[in-house]
Structure formats: C-alpha cells, structure tokens
Symmetry: C2
Subunit: 105 residues, 2 copies
DNA sequence: TCAATATATGTCATATTTGATATATTAGCA
DNA sequence: TGCTAATATATCAAATATGACATATATTGA
C-alpha cells in the first residue's frame, strides 16, 4: 500500500474515510485529484506572486475569503469550475492552465 | 456587437437570455466557456474515435446516456469536473487535456 | 420503406457546491 | 509581549449539478 501517496492526499485536505476506500482509487481518480491539487497550488502561487489577499481575490469573483482559502487548501468541496474561473479572473491564461495541468506532479 | 460569437455560443447550447447579458461577458467568462466547449468537443472526438456509444461511456462513469449527450452538447448544466472525469475515464491523459485547453479556439 | 440502434432534449428529486457567517489560528511587526 | 491583518476551518441555507427517466429525433442497415 502506498503510504506516501495517501499522506500526500491527506496533507492536501483529502481525508480518506478508510484505507480500503483509498485503495479503491483508480488511476483516473488519482489523475483527477492531482489535477485539482495542481490548480490549487497554482492559484496560491499566482495570488501571492501578485500580492493579492484572499479577500481581494474573493471580491473579484464575488465569493468569500473562506472559499478562496478552501480552494488553495485543495478542499474536496471545491469544484474545478471554481478553480478555473478564479484563476482566469486573476490573470491566468488558458495556456497557463494547460501548462499547470500538463506538468502536474 | 459580435453576432458571430453569439451564434457560436448558441450553436453550442448556451442560450443567452438577452443581448445585454451577452455583452456582459468578460474576457474571463468567455475563456471559461470556450474552455468548456473545447472539452466537450474533445469528448465527442475521442468517444467516436474509440467507437464507444454514449451509453457505454455512461456506464464507465456511472452516469446516464442523456448526461453524456449533454456533455457533448456543451450544455451549461455540465461541470468541468464531470467533463474531466469523463475524459480521463475513456483514456485521455493529463497531457491530452492540457493540449485541448491550450489550443481551444 | 421499416425497424433497430444511437443520440438529443426536457423534467425532476436528490446530491453536491456555493457564498456567507462566525470564529479559530497564524504571521508579522511595534 | 500584545496588536492587527491575513489565513484557516466549521457550519449551513440556498443555488447549482447530478443521475434517472421519458420521450423525441436521427442514423444506419436490410
């Protein structure tokens, strides 16, 4: 069993209900989660690079600071849609997103 | 006003409530919609290329034929999450997704 | 033409995601 | 240390996405 991988998920806020559940992750599911985490990390990276607060980002997308925090934390309750919308709103281009997705760890 | 662009959206199932609403589309919003449409098209392309029926795809992701049809139609009720999950489930790689997103018309 | 199969469209109860709010925790600085 | 701004976390009602279903419309092959 891949403890390192499990730890990586948990670090990112993906609490797994049980080891059995974790083992049920198919390659697709892993790819999906990794993709989301990659977008999360990139959001934080761009935001801090631009010296924007979470509150400032929240205003742009008419959301709230707490939701931006959840986005950056890779919270499972956050959709890719919201991540993409947010990234685009703070200046990321489609090319940027493509690169993030392609090189996602 | 960009009638050609409006037509493109409507062709893809994005009925705009009014011209005024359409004009309110910011560049981000346009990018977001184009990105979704690109994923939709790619789904149909891969599926037909692999000679899978919508029903067959639906089974893999435990969804329904009608929802797969909506995905390919670019229906606004479909999330990027679902599109991505579906694409991954029929063999698309993250690199594939990246390319689609980067080159989206 | 006529099935038979595939796809499209509309609707709806249920599930998930959402912004908002409250509040806890952290980071930086006087 | 205390103060302040920033970030994290928990909760919840409202909004949105979902699978399922019915049914309409294409598409294909005999």
């Amino acid at each position: 069993m891949d403890e390192k991988k499990r730890q990586k998920l948990e670090d990112a806020g993906w609490r797994v209900a049980s080891t059995a559940d974790f083992l049920d992750l198919t390659p697709d599911e892993s790819a999906y989660i990794e993709l989301k985490l990659a977008l999360s990390k990139h959001l934080k990276q761009i935001r801090t690079q631009k010296e924007l607060t979470q509150e400032a980002v929240a205003e742009r997308i008419k959301s709230s600071q707490s939701r931006v925090a959840k986005m950056e934390a890779g919270d499972p309750s956050v959709s890719i849609d919201l991540l993409v919308k947010t990234l685009l709103s703070i200046g990321a281009t489609r090319s940027d997103l493509a690169e993030v997705i392609a090189t996602a760890k």
